[in-house]
Subunit: 330 residues, 5 copies
């Protein structure tokens, strides 16, 4: 139960002991790590900070549990916990919480499982925090889109909402992806009886042999509980994404319906243009420098002006009546 | 078999006995609860009203069944039922039903399973009620959208239907999500023989040891029955959502097709504008203060007016014929 | 082997015997039914006509098989068959078929399984009939949509097809839902060895004890066979729905492409309008009552008229050349 | 090991022997077939040519393997192969191949498995042939759609590609459906140890009793191999369909983007129309037969003409500047 | 442990030995290969370069492991490795890596598993390389699309991004397909205890009999590790594809919203056209060669000109007010 810790360029490592004192920093090479923990290099890569894109994993090996969930990369052993990247802000915030909980905890579980539970609590809280920042932002954009009335459609507020929607949707997708991978990592352990019973590292060391495959009730119940929390985050994000999709879909149809309204209006305006052009042509004809025979008539001006305006009106009504009769437009 | 119940700020609790008398309210702290029921704090969080977002669950522990379904959060034991949040209206309505059924029931099942069945009956009825309020509202909107004739498309009725559709679709999605989670919670129990046989709490207490893994026929049949009800609600809502999607899809295409009709009309109107402008230009030319040599001709006015109108008509027909010949527009 | 049957308001029941004589009608209350068949009330609800929305089910109980598939709601026992809702037209049509087949059948199977096979034959035939009425109607609409040429797009025939498509798509979705649920009900039995071996009710009665879990070859082969028929209906309807989706998708794109063609045309017409208005403005200038100095020129009229028309043509060609040069429009 | 074969109206049958001689045709009724092969009528329906819509199946019965894959409907027994519909062209082409392979094969497998392998080889080759005719046709349409430049969008080539796409997509969907069903049929056998060990018909006849459930290595490896081929066809077709969907999607967006470009252009043209109409109105005002006081001015004509044209230009620039200032259009 | 290798037209083969010396080329016919390795012809087809479209596979046979992953087609045996297509550039690059790793490796694993690990390392690196070239290209296009402001929509940059998007999306789909198939091939082995324990070829040869089904811890951990890498590539590509879909979707809606803005603008322009045409018609009326009685009025010109312009303005405002009053347009 030695308390030690190290931070360096290659692989910064923080070690925590079973006892209550403050963990110290220590620099470990991969080879040291392999020697100390009995893990092979392939396994260590899962917690190596230089492999940033490694996917979340909870791997159970004979003498250690390797955890790579969110910001926490740790190796859990029967008597200590190696926490990597101790300078990362989230990890910095995690260390006092870890110490507090490990000391406070009056649980009957062995050290490695109590440490695992603290890690899971921290990861779940981190996921819930992330979800609770994303959802309201998305909801406000969706509310904005769905409450926009017909009349103000095509306005700036719709545009602004749409401009804000895409990055939010991408953030949701990315977060859902991460939650799904964490979920899969925990589910992989939950669905393997061997893995769960092998997680009692202390018990294996004390008894000297493996536990029976089905002796893992506490681990199973613990994992199931945090699984439920992750499931509920997963459900919430999925539901938000479905709402985004529905809103996008309906917004598109509403924009279409709005466009049809505007197009109807344009048809009226186009008919008006045609009608006025017709009336104008009547006037233009009498403006020709040709003998109409009405040049001296005192009422002709008013008659023809009236005729010109009537042409406008009659054309307008006539075209509409024609379209309605032909069932083309109404 | 003590009858007690309590309501308070921290964790309001209602306790029901096996005997017929009215349950009383009682204030329980989490620690009391853990002591009384033998559950650990992690499990109790599932029924704690302060954790509102916990997902539905039916958890089987050695001395209690923890139920968190819809509005009902309860701990079932061999000789009593702890019902949380007794002041919630749905829970208030549930209490007399619970008492009536527990007394009336002449079933041979032990108390904990009879209580569980009453909870399941209540939850299923609640889900069916919710589904039966959502579906007709959606159906009316969909009927409205799909029955809108071509001629009145782009009208207000389509807009209104679309405005009403989005909140309904979101409500459907949310409800489907809830039903799916309840379904999963019950299915988790149904797919675990250990859980089902461990649900006979009375039998375990009386015999003093666990039941065989496959002794759970009554529980299985009971859960299967309510599972079927939930499945049928799930199916109904899924089918409604599929109908919503189809209607949205086809509505969009119909709006598109309508728009193409209107665009065809606009092309005709544009051709008319071009034609009349051409005819007008003829008249405008003769309106110039220049010598056309026809100034004194007595018939020129009528000839040129006719020419102007003919230009309109010939342009119109000529453009259409040209477009038809070129197979551009017909 | 008593032949009996009953029809009433509460629960209309029809009972069929193993022997060949005509079944009679009988009115049974739920309590009678529970007493006669040894089923509990929860199970009976699956065949109770007053619970219309119950989902399809094949439930195996110790002394009866409960069947709720399509229009057929029946309780099969070792020596009789209770058929509910005997006044329903489909059930009326089923009764003679049932009698004929039960008598004709020279199968070695016990009564309950022969009766089950007759039910499955009837249900499968009903599903195939339904599928064979839906598919051709859909195909005709889809053919209509996909064969509509470009030139007649935006025409009434597309509109009519789209108006007919939505109810057909909804009918397909609803039918697929029903087939899926029937499929699931049968698959639930097929995937449970206990259920299948428990279906040999006669054998259990005669031997006095349960059959071995794996003694169910005839039942399995029988169910698999009808499962295949239902699968083939399911596949056909799914394929039709996929074709509907594809056609909708491509129709939408074709409408879009058509619209782009029409928009191109409108651009030409708009350019023409601009050009002719320019030319008209030239003429209008010379129509002003101002001194142009050309008033007495004998050729000015023709020159300026030509200039006006040239302006039209040059504007038209100039704008097009400009747009082409700028790669905006071609 | 009798070589026989028959073709008739009711059920045309072709029988092949273990020995090398040419198979003969024979007419078999269903009853004969049931008697000869020990199969029940329900099973025979899977190879009965009068049930055209039966879905693909490989059924293992105690004395025969029933195969219905693509065009091949056959009953395989320990000493012969009954091949149905011998007059179908694909089956005609298959018979010599079958004979050649059965004689050439120096495999140690029993007759029924060698025959099954020949059938699988033929079916896989047929599927690969079908896939290799569909894919290039689709690829050429997709290339056409995706390589169409912006400028020629809305052209006939896009329309033609879209017209060709829909039938191809439907053919792909239909073929994928068929491959999936064949895949399922083979997978059903592969996932059942009983079925695979029961396929050694010769061994069962010789030994007189069933094989152990896990004695089926050769069959499993053989089926796995052809499964891989079918998987690869399935993957290819699925990938092609995904490419179709993506191309459709992007094509639609490209059409939209193109439309926006054209609409921008129309805005410019509409602004031009408004501007020229304004300028024309200036000229029209001076064309009124009213006293402007400029009638005798020698330069007024040029001044006002210039003013008219300036009005056009200033309106055009002014409207654009206004829209740009208001951030409405740029 | 003979070191040999061959390259030829029919089937080019490269053989590697357990010992450290350079492998030599050798020409092998299929028959030789079958004789040397004890594999049947069906299995050999998986590594035969002439069957280009074979899907990825890891097949475990009694004396060899057949690997077909990405560019590597190999047969692994207890004492040698046959590597096909040695002239392929990727294979050429692989050979020195293979030699270096096989010699350097101080692992306790037998030769066949060390060789398999080297193959898996190479395949994983190749997939990661491919993913890391695709993702940035896609991201740049997506960033371009999503950052395009409203005002410059319909511009060339959107068009260019869309033109580049389709081939990238197809490349992503194709690559995802390949990764999925490789994933499936490895998962098939991981989910079969028999296959994994049979992979210890050396151990089987030395002991002379099969290993126990559950003796495969090293293989399982090794495969799981590379599975995780492939999973992470799979996740990355899936996430990128989802981002593509979301961006496409939102881009389409943004284009729609933009179009609505432009259409609003067009409505204003159309109203302006109608208004100016109306004003022009007033002027045109007074341009008629008819007696209006105002010919000599000194102020009429200004009055009517003003009236003409006022008509324009009043029409414009009147139409807008009317549309707003009727709630048609605002």
């Amino acid at each position: 139960t030695n308390a030690s810790g190290s931070s360096g360029s290659g692989s910064a490592v923080k070690v925590r002991t079973n006892a209550g004192e403050r963990g110290t920093l220590r620099n470990l090479t991969k080879a040291d790590l392999a020697a100390t923990t009995g893990l092979n290099l392939r396994d260590i890569r899962n917690v190596d900070p230089s492999f940033r894109q490694e996917s979340p994993a909870v791997l159970v090996r004979s003498k250690a549990i390797i955890v790579n969930l969110e910001h926490i990369r740790a190796i859990l052993q029967a008597d200590r916990l190696l926490l990597f990247e101790p300078m990362h802000p989230s990890v910095q915030a995690f260390i006092p919480e870890l110490q507090a909980r490990l000391q406070a905890e009056s649980s009957l579980l062995p050290f490695e499982l109590r440490a695992l539970e603290v890690v899971l609590i921290n990861v779940c809280a981190s996921l819930q925090r992330h979800a609770s920042t994303l959802s309201p932002a998305v909801d406000s954009v969706l509310d904005n889109l769905s409450s926009t009335g017909v009349s103000s459609f095509g306005s700036d507020s719709v545009q602004t909402s749409l401009d804000r929607l895409l990055p939010l949707e991408n953030a949701l997708n990315e977060f859902l992806n991460k939650v799904t991978m964490i979920r899969t990592a925990i589910d992989d352990v939950l669905s393997s009886d061997e893995d769960m019973s092998a997680m009692y590292l202390t018990s294996v060391i004390q008894s000297g042999h493996r536990r029976r495959r089905d002796e893992h009730e506490e681990v199973e119940m613990m994992l199931e509980n945090y699984m439920k929390v992750i499931d509920s985050v997963h459900n919430e994000i999925s539901a938000t994404l479905r709402a985004v999709k529905s809103t996008e879909n309906v917004t598109q149809i509403r924009l279409d319906a709005m466009r049809n309204r505007v197009l109807r209006l344009e048809v009226y305006l186009n008919i008006a243009t045609v009608s006025i052009a017709s009336g104008g042509t009547v006037a233009a004809c009498f403006g020709m420098n040709l003998l109409s025979g009405l040049e001296e008539s005192p009422h002709a001006f008013y008659a023809i002006s009236l005729a010109s305006v009537s042409t406008c009106v009659l054309m307008f009504r006539g075209i509409l009546a024609f379209l309605k009769f032909k069932r083309i437009f109404r």
